[in-house]
């Protein structure tokens, strides 16, 4: 109470470590930084290109899972449309270069702004509804984008069912485009981005925005009766996680050099959900680990056409049996989400 910071249920243990003896604290930070740095470099010497590619895919899925998990954990909202922003980022980037004649960096910026406008408008419509309706509406919005890409009138832009080959000439944000296709360099980039985004979301979760979001999740009406605007924080959270999804989408297209309607599909969204559930939604590490795990598991079982079936099984199993996920064993999912039934 004396230090005047807003504490939340995750805060207490963290505060103790931070106020602990200074040498130990800096030691932990240094060790963490070395570990994070090593993660970007060491695998590129140890693993084959194939494993690095799988790993990079896993990191991108982990980024998506991070965005979905953050919204679940902080706001109690389940988004089933992560793929539309992920795939949409790739499409807009490609269209910006090939049809609007933009440089790669400009195309990236324009695509980013268009997505920002889209998710802000969509969010303004759907974050007002209850969590169940939100889930239904994100699914519907995702399908809308899938249909839009396949429209006959947009075929010249989107390539219809065939998708688009994305040729990137020159540099993107100062990085030569050739590097993105290199498995080792891309792994380092994806790792760095995943770590930075993870840290950023972790920080947001501990900020006042996180505290307000969790309180709204728990009792929206009481928040309004306490003078809070409950719409803007949720909209902000929704836009924020979609920007993360867009970053993952940009990384994907830069690496793959190709966008297809599959990248927008419902199965990408459900895979993301599974990755988040495997890793546990209550931290930044879990979802990224979940993404990696999913990627390698998909390689193992996907060849037999079982990925989607196992995705379905995984959703059921993780909700029913392991509601806290594999990594995030901190507490039960329902408690974290404040999804408790009234009167029970």
């Amino acid at each position: 109470m004396s230090n005047g910071t807003m504490t939340d249920d995750l805060h207490a243990p963290v505060t103790t470590t931070l106020t602990g003896p200074l040498p130990r604290r800096s030691l932990a930070i240094v060790a963490g930084l070395i570990g994070l740095g090593a993660g970007a470099v060491v695998p590129t010497y140890l693993a084959s290109d194939f494993v690095l590619r799988l790993g990079s895919e896993g990191l991108l899925l982990g980024l998506l899972a991070l965005s979905v998990a953050f919204l679940m954990n902080q706001a109690g909202l389940v988004a089933l449309g992560a793929a539309s922003v992920y795939g949409g980022a790739g499409y807009l980037f490609a269209i910006g270069m090939s049809d609007w004649g933009l440089t790669p960096t400009a195309a990236l910026g324009v695509a980013f702004l268009i997505l920002l406008g889209y998710v802000a408008m969509l969010g303004a419509l759907i974050v007002r509804t209850n969590p169940l309706a939100f889930m239904m509406l994100t699914l519907a919005a995702g399908e809308m984008i899938s249909h839009a890409v396949l429209l006959e009138g947009l075929r010249d832009y989107t390539g219809g069912a065939d998708g688009l080959v994305v040729r990137i000439n020159g540099t993107v944000l100062g990085i030569d485009a050739i590097h993105f296709a290199d498995p080792a360099k891309f792994w380092s980039l994806a790792w760095t981005v995943a770590v930075l985004v993870g840290l950023a979301l972790w920080g947001v979760g501990r900020s006042r925005l996180g505290a307000v979001l969790r309180a709204i999740r728990e009792n929206e009406e009481r928040m309004r009766f306490s003078g809070f605007n409950t719409f803007l924080p949720r909209l902000t959270g929704y836009v924020l996680v979609n920007l993360v999804a867009a970053i993952a989408g940009f990384l994907h297209v830069l690496n793959a050099g190709f966008v297809s309607p599959e990248s927008l599909g419902l199965s990408v969204s459900t895979n993301t959900l599974v990755a988040a559930l495997i890793g546990g939604i209550s931290g930044s590490l879990g979802p990224i680990f979940g993404g990696l795990l999913f990627s390698f598991a998909q390689d193992e079982f996907g060849a037999r056409g079982l990925t989607q079936l196992l995705t379905g099984v995984a959703i059921v199993v993780f909700i029913v049996v392991f509601p806290q996920g594999v990594v995030g064993g901190l507490s039960g999912l329902s408690r974290r989400l404040g999804w408790r039934r009234e009167g029970s």
């Binding site: 969590p131 519907a140 839009a148 429209l151 989607q308 099984v313 995984a314 029970s344």
Partner: protein, 285 residues
């Protein structure tokens, strides 16, 4: 032209009513949105296809709803009841997972290509009414749709169980005080809703195609309808289904380039004007 448009939208709306009213009923009673409803419809369609090739369309129309009603009972006992104390979102996620499983098993068994079902002889061909030629099968669909609407209304208005369903849907706490046994009602409503999804699946065979993507298309349509209708409002869902059918058909006639997006535009417009939907269900937020 207008008559044709209305008839076509009624035919489509008939299927949508059978599916979305079932969804709205379960929501009203249990606060659960069954994301697997599309997969049950798809199962109905594929079972209908198999039974129709062996024993004919009428047998399929009789057997499939019975089989799916049994599936509904299993769904109630094995999923909804054990998960009663879990949050609505968790239950919704479980139904999403179950739906994916059912859909994938169907694709595994039947393969990826689309199947077609022929309408029975008596329903094939066209009739001429007031100088307009119209396919008999679509008239049959309209009759089935309006018939199930009438039955639903009769059940809700005139029977004790229907009255209970309405009472619970409007205010669960009051209904609990009245001593209504929600479990028994829920068993009835769940099996009815899966049976109707089965009928819709069989009926969709000769009208739309039977293909691997039909579950997702239909669940998304139904979710849009349920949201437009005001989640949990059965009357709202019926009106929304009619509206949806009309907009979809009119869209494909007047805006063929954008037809696929028209339902979503409708959804956005409704959300903008009336975030709670058009019906008087329980309020959303």
């Amino acid at each position: 032209m207008i008559a044709l448009l209305i008839a076509n939208s009624l035919a489509l709306a008939s299927l949508l009513i059978m599916l979305s009213s079932g969804l709205a009923l379960i929501y009203g009673l249990r606060d659960v949105i069954n994301f697997g409803h599309g997969a049950i419809y798809m199962l109905g369609a594929y079972l209908g296809y198999t039974i129709a090739t062996v024993g004919g369309f009428w047998l399929a129309l009789l057997l499939v709803p019975i089989m799916l009603a049994l599936l509904g009972i299993a769904f109630e006992y094995l999923a909804l009841r054990p998960l009663q104390r879990r949050s609505h979102i968790e239950v919704a996620l479980v139904t999403l997972g179950l739906g994916i499983i059912v859909g994938q098993i169907i694709i595994y068994l039947y393969g990826g290509e689309a199947r077609s079902v022929d309408a029975p002889k008596i329903l094939s061909g066209s009739v001429t009414i007031l100088h307009l030629s119209y396919p008999v099968y679509r008239l049959f669909l309209i009759v089935m749709g309006l018939g199930s609407c009438a039955l639903l209304a009769l059940w809700l208005r005139a029977t004790p169980s229907g009255l209970y369903v309405r009472a619970v849907s409007q205010d669960p706490s009051v209904a609990r005080m009245m001593g209504i046994n929600a479990d028994r009602l829920s068993l009835l409503v769940t099996s009815l809703s899966t049976a109707f999804a089965g009928i819709a699946g069989v009926l969709a065979g000769p009208y739309l195609s039977v293909d691997p993507g039909m579950d997702v298309v239909m669940i998304v349509n139904c979710l849009i309808i349920v949201v437009i209708g005001g989640t949990g409002s059965i009357g709202g869902a019926i009106v929304a289904a009619l509206l949806f059918g009309f907009v979809q058909v009119a869209g494909s006639v007047f805006l063929p380039n954008l037809a696929a997006l028209v339902p979503y535009i409708l959804l956005m417009v409704v959300l903008l004007i009336a975030p709670g939907g058009i019906g008087r269900g329980r309020v959303l937020s």
